[in-house]
Subunit: 229 residues, 2 copies
DNA sequence: GACGCTTATCGTCAGCATGACGAAAAAGGG
DNA sequence: CCCTTTTTCGTCATGCTGACGATAAGCGTC
């Protein structure tokens, strides 16, 4: 880090969120409708300014809570990347630190103070404000990759879930079909991926499925493989 | 992204670099000795302020060139993560966008204008200014992980290299021993990882080795596996 | 030049994980 | 009771990996 003898000028910093969830076999992202200029009326990623004495991660957690009402440590939140190309915001120099959140499906989102509304949008979405289409694409790509070598697919599931529900998460995020038998063997055979609850739940049809909760593993060795075609 | 009705206050943004190289079977990082307060005389990661009309990536490229004299597209450069905890810089609110660079070994580094000197330091390094120890740790961990599923180890090698040189890169970064025969089979058997040049080079002892250059592959499927113990 | 030493490269083989797919178990409905 | 559906367990061929033997191709020495 250099000195302040030639400071680069001051910058505004925002924390914006790519909030993904899986519902009805669709990958959905949380969007807000902008209530002010620029891009008034356009859809954008939720987010806002980092407060003067606020950590970046804390700002992301706060924005997530403001938009979803989430307070408990549910799902998953991680930093995605930062975007600071000059001109990306017509109001001036803005650097955005983007975060990626993976959540189980929740009740309807709450519109923030500066938004006219919020909604879950199925992918692919249409036009977005600023460079948010690029940020969203990066987030989706990160999520797809992380399902391979981490157990993060459980972040899309409720606390207790069936193997079939978990498989449908993979199939939805990857847009691929997985063999239920091999998937079952792989998931239950990977130590720490999921842990049996001991109870079963009856589906609408067919044999009732065992319930599982997420295990302590942080990485999958060997990874879950995405189908090649 | 929200509006400017309650801006979070302005922030200074720096682009700092974790520049890694492999030399003499050591993983080394480029450090500069700070010539000004705070942390005057302490070692720190190279970097500096993002200019008012400069892209983040461009700032990282510029800083890399200023510190190493690099101009050609050699090695690898990618964004690592951003750090903005309040108080991490005693002068005020500073958000640092860290970049990770992987380079083949180069001549002695050049000291920047605001540094008393620059040097390659073998890992682990001692105390660093600011939270640079944390940034460095994140960068090293990213590099170690990327060697598994990407051909980025070639970024540590000169344009033409032998399989043994490439293996020594893996052994150094991972601090592990790899079987030369299995490594040779894996590297030459992965399409697009390396391409034979057609010539050989004589080492000091033993049979001369074929020369290779980096192939077009961006990902390794299946990945290179780190030894478990 | 034969020999020994070193390193690069090729082969072999057992073990494990995977993909494809059959089959049994466990429910509900006609 | 039979049929359908879904879950769960098995089987088998294949491919990748780890361990390690064997050969190739240089150099130095006697």
């Amino acid at each position: 880090m250099a000195d302040f003898s030639s400071p680069g000028g001051s910058v505004s910093v925002t924390a914006d969120l790519v909030v993904l969830t899986v519902q009805s076999n669709e990958l959905r992202v949380l969007l807000v409708r902008r209530g002010i200029e620029p891009y008034r009326g356009a859809w954008a990623l939720p987010g806002g300014f980092v407060l003067p004495d606020e950590d970046l991660d804390a700002a992301a957690v706060r924005e997530l809570r403001e938009e979803t009402g989430l307070t408990a440590p549910v799902g998953h939140l991680e930093q995605l990347a930062s975007y600071g190309t000059p001109g990306r915001d017509p109001r001036g120099r803005v650097v955005t630190v983007a975060y990626l959140a993976l959540l189980p499906h929740l009740p309807a989102p709450v519109a923030g103070s500066d938004a006219e509304g919020a909604a879950w949008a199925a992918l692919p979405v249409g036009e977005l404000a600023f460079d948010h289409a690029r940020i969203l694409a990066d987030g989706v790509e990160r999520a797809r990759a992380k399902l391979e070598y981490s157990p993060l697919a459980t972040a899309f599931c409720p606390p207790e879930f069936t193997i079939t529900e978990l498989r449908e998460v993979y199939e939805t995020v990857w847009d691929a079909r997985l063999d239920p038998r091999n998937f079952h063997r792989k998931v239950t055979g990977t130590p720490g991926f999921v842990e049996p609850v001991g109870r079963s739940i009856a589906a609408e049809r067919g044999r009732p499925a065992q319930l599982f909760r997420r295990g302590p593993a942080r990485l999958l060795h060997p990874p879950m493989l995405r189908p090649t075609p």
